[in-house]
Symmetry: C2
Subunit: 212 residues, 2 copies
């Protein structure tokens, strides 16, 4: 299925969650699931689930529920997981290396094709089967190889300069771990800022509320 129209952001934020659970259900051998059962797993109301999934023509059947495998495959296609994207990691410190070795990339349809760093301690070492290159080569490498995505695990101060340079080289999306809102002068690029601290703060709040 081709996604003819843009999906709204709130719906889109829930789709990976549905997909993740359907993947697990499918691996566990579950063949069908109702919106009610899915609701319990996912912590989204059943009516919200039905509404979200109806956006794509509705895959469910009244009284039967959803076919797990076919719903998973449809979501995979909508999310573009079945497409492959190429990515580079800029900043090959601990976080960069952790992401390079993490199965999150491949499960999201992303193939890592290069890693870059500025530090002589890291340039030249092998990470996840790739040799870390000098950041000076990043522009050439990304435009030559038509790299789709850059994963930025750099110090805050350097992130924006690097992202602008890579956008010039044709990189279309940035997954930014610098804990700051990234802005790129090229308006057409896509950006996801990751703020790991937000969920940690929520956790701390929950802990302090345990004592109330």
């Amino acid at each position: 299925m081709k996604n003819e129209k843009k999906i709204s952001t709130p719906v889109l934020r829930r789709l990976p969650k549905y997909y993740r659970h359907l993947e697990e259900l499918s691996r566990a051998g579950v063949e069908k699931i109702s919106s009610k059962e899915l609701s319990k797993l996912i912590n989204v109301t059943a009516s919200q689930i039905r509404q979200d999934l109806n956006c794509f023509g509705g895959f469910g059947q009244q009284g039967y529920g959803y076919n797990v495998e076919s719903l998973r495959d449809s979501l995979a296609e909508i999310l573009g997981v079945t497409k492959r994207y190429t990515a580079v990691i800029v900043g090959a410190g601990h976080l960069g290396q952790a992401l390079a070795n993490h199965n999150t990339l491949s499960r999201s349809g992303v193939d890592l094709v290069g890693l870059f760093d500025i530090s002589p301690d890291v340039v030249g070492i092998d990470v996840a089967g790739l040799t870390v290159m000098n950041i000076a080569q990043a522009f050439h490498f990304c435009s030559e190889n038509q790299v789709d995505l850059a994963i930025l695990t750099l110090p805050k101060g350097e992130t924006s300069t690097v992202a602008n340079m890579l956008a010039e080289a044709g990189v279309k999306g940035f997954w930014n771990f610098a804990n700051t809102e990234l802005s790129v002068s090229n308006k057409s690029v896509s950006i996801e800022n990751v703020y790991m601290g937000d969920s940690l703060m929520k956790l701390c709040y929950d802990i302090s509320a345990q004592d109330l």
Copy 2:
């Protein structure tokens, strides 16, 4: 200010975002801000912001806006950032080491007091000023030191066993990076599951939508 009642989850999910931006504004020397200006920065409607912040007695003044510093301090107190929490990291691989060295912990009010791993390659090495201990010592260490939080950067299969053991040792909250929904038999603990892949999938979708 003491939070007398539990804040709803959707509001709570937005508070760290407000706090983060107010911290940045304060560092930049901004003294006051209206809900409208804040709305542009944060991508939440001005009326939503006013409604959220009204939950706590309302810190804003009509026609003046919010005092950045005092709003930041109030949010810090509500979120419990002014309180300190102790944490251990279980799984001292790349991701564990990245988090140990990341300022996200200290900025969220969390002090790292121990790291554990099972691998002889990692046990005994120094990370962020601490010596990685053998996982066999984790139970004793956490109950002895009344550790609040455990950050789990372990393989999926081991996460649940370790979390249950640590909950027995008195750990109150789990920040779980195993990309799976963690369940702990002790119902009173708090859990935040981090799914890094979700934002990556959204990014891939956005990239594929650029071409539409």
